[in-house]
Symmetry: C2
Subunit: 343 residues, 2 copies
């Protein structure tokens, strides 16, 4: 009854194509995949029929049968932060070129969401995972599941997994040196965390710079803040309203820099006359404001594509030596830094 010629409401399967082309499933599969022997005429006919029926192979079934998948998981901390958005865009571009589909998850910096996402990745049997990790557990977990993983931006696994990072310590030291060489002696550091390698290295670079310059670090100038603009802004207002205001402020990332910038505006301070400001991590607005913000430019897109390259390498050679790729970062001097006013 409804067996023959029923205009199919279900999506077409390879069986439908086979029936319509009058050949077996096996032949159809060979015709469509291009593997194995098929007569040229048959191949063309099958392909035409497939096209006609709007046949799209069931990726799940295929990946189940082939025991491998063409998707990779990407886990970032905050898509709305241009750093992560650029990073994801860098991965996306390359992934597509290599025929991979990207599953992007934003864990909002939450360790629990991060682990949940990792479980989902395992469930989908992704070919590999790129993560800007929030906790050490995720790498442990994924490695135990034998899923290739690349830690990006920061690393927790301490050599157990591949990693792609920026040379935070060096860039941070140079940025700090820049301020010191302008004559600054009271340089505050706004930083949101020092437990990840990013924060720890940026902190270390800053300290190293002070030490090498013979400056005693002032603990009251070390300002720990939360990871959002509002918190940084409030902390920066407090800092800049002090009687013994620092002559320069080093912000450990673009979000904190935004807070500092807004705080300077709130207090009516002139940059760089009243205070110099620098940022670790460039952002579009930093070259649009007046004066421009002196910053360390991390190429997040390049970071993403380097992470993808490493992941594809790892997928290719699962047992190869673990690698940590370190990228350089440039300092972009702009107008927000100048010699401090004489007291």
């Amino acid at each position: 009854m409804d067996e023959v010629d029923a205009p199919l409401l279900r999506r077409a399967t390879i069986k439908d194509v086979a029936k319509a082309a009058g050949v077996s499933q096996s032949t159809t599969a060979r015709a469509l995949s291009g593997e194995g022997y098929v007569a040229a005429t048959v191949r063309e006919r099958v392909r035409a029929v497939a096209e006609d029926l709007g046949y799209v192979p069931h990726a799940m079934a295929s990946s189940l049968r082939k025991q491998q998948s063409r998707s990779i998981g990407v886990l970032v901390s905050d898509l709305r932060n241009p750093f992560y958005a650029d990073f994801a865009a860098g991965i996306a571009r390359g992934a597509r070129q290599h025929g991979y589909t990207m599953i992007l998850v934003d864990d909002r910096g939450d360790a629990a969401e991060e682990i949940d996402a990792a479980k989902a990745f395992v469930g989908m049997r992704v070919a590999g995972v790129i993560v800007t990790p929030v906790s050490a557990e995720i790498s442990t977990y994924l490695l135990r599941q034998h899923i290739p993983i690349v830690e990006a931006d920061r690393t927790f696994s301490n050599g157990a997994a591949d990693a792609v990072v920026v040379d935070n310590a060096t860039a941070s030291r140079r940025l700090s040196d820049h301020l010191v060489s302008l004559g600054h002696r009271r340089i505050a550091l706004l930083i949101d965390e020092t437990e990840w390698t990013t924060g720890a290295d940026r902190f270390a670079g800053y300290m190293r710079s002070l030490e090498d310059s013979g400056l005693a670090p002032d603990p009251t100038l070390l300002v720990p803040v939360g990871s959002d603009v509002g918190d940084a802004r409030r902390a920066a207002v407090d800092l800049l309203a002090r009687r013994d205001r620092p002559t320069a402020v080093f912000s450990a990332n673009n979000i904190l820099a935004e807070g500092v910038w807004r705080a300077a505006g709130d207090l009516g301070l002139r940059v760089p006359d009243d205070v110099s400001i620098v940022s670790f991590d460039d952002a579009a607005w930093m070259s649009m404001v007046t004066p421009g913000m002196t910053a360390v430019a991390q190429d997040a897109v390049a970071l993403g594509s380097a992470a993808l390259t490493r992941l594809l390498g790892r997928i290719d050679v699962p047992a190869g030596p673990i690698e940590t790729v370190v990228l350089d970062a440039q300092i972009l001097p702009r107008g927000s830094t100048a010699a401090p006013r004489k007291p």
Copy 2:
């Protein structure tokens, strides 16, 4: 030989769990899913064993068997543009809450990549798709494949698919009215396209405002530009360097506004004294520069979550009436607009 107790290198399957727990696959499945009868003691034992083996159900196999999937496809034009990043973040949040995995693809505004991505979505048998469409084909294609789709930000399908958009025409008219009411008569419009509903409606709103104010539109003030900052910047430099410079510039989106802003800087023009600038679409930098940029604030996060809500509704009731959700947009007056100088 290697049949028994081999420490499995492969990932554990339900079969492994069943064997280890000493029950059948069926019972194991029931124990893990919670559907159907299982003795409480058995359930606990099976769950413990599963945990122990690090068992994670094969999502592909499950979705193949159940003939339904828990992932949705999201297709945006440019992840690096904060508008799309916010939009995606808005979707991501809700998707997770509803147990869906988001497959995010950046088609870079390219129609061919868009169609490719759509095919990949069909291949993965996603439950639905949210797209900021680049061409009309994608909706046609997905609808023919019986995949629920929501067009966001702009719509091509003309009522054939659900849509979630901002009231571009009204917001654009108001923004233009704002300039007119300040006394501007020569208002240039920088716009990158007028074929999508976004561009067409913003253009229409601008024209409508001029008409209603009895101003004759000047074709030389209608500047078509490309969709990137560099192009907009060059075009804006040309525009603002004219002898008969417009007294105000209306940028049709945040990217063009960035170009105009930089162009004003290039020419050493003071905003708003020499020229007023407004932007359709707010961005973080617009409240950080001096003066702030008067802009229409589209809530991209809300747009994303509205699109998700509509999609889930459609998945729930596939045959329900097609809906177009229209969101309002606010004008944020800042310092970049003022009355024109007397000539």
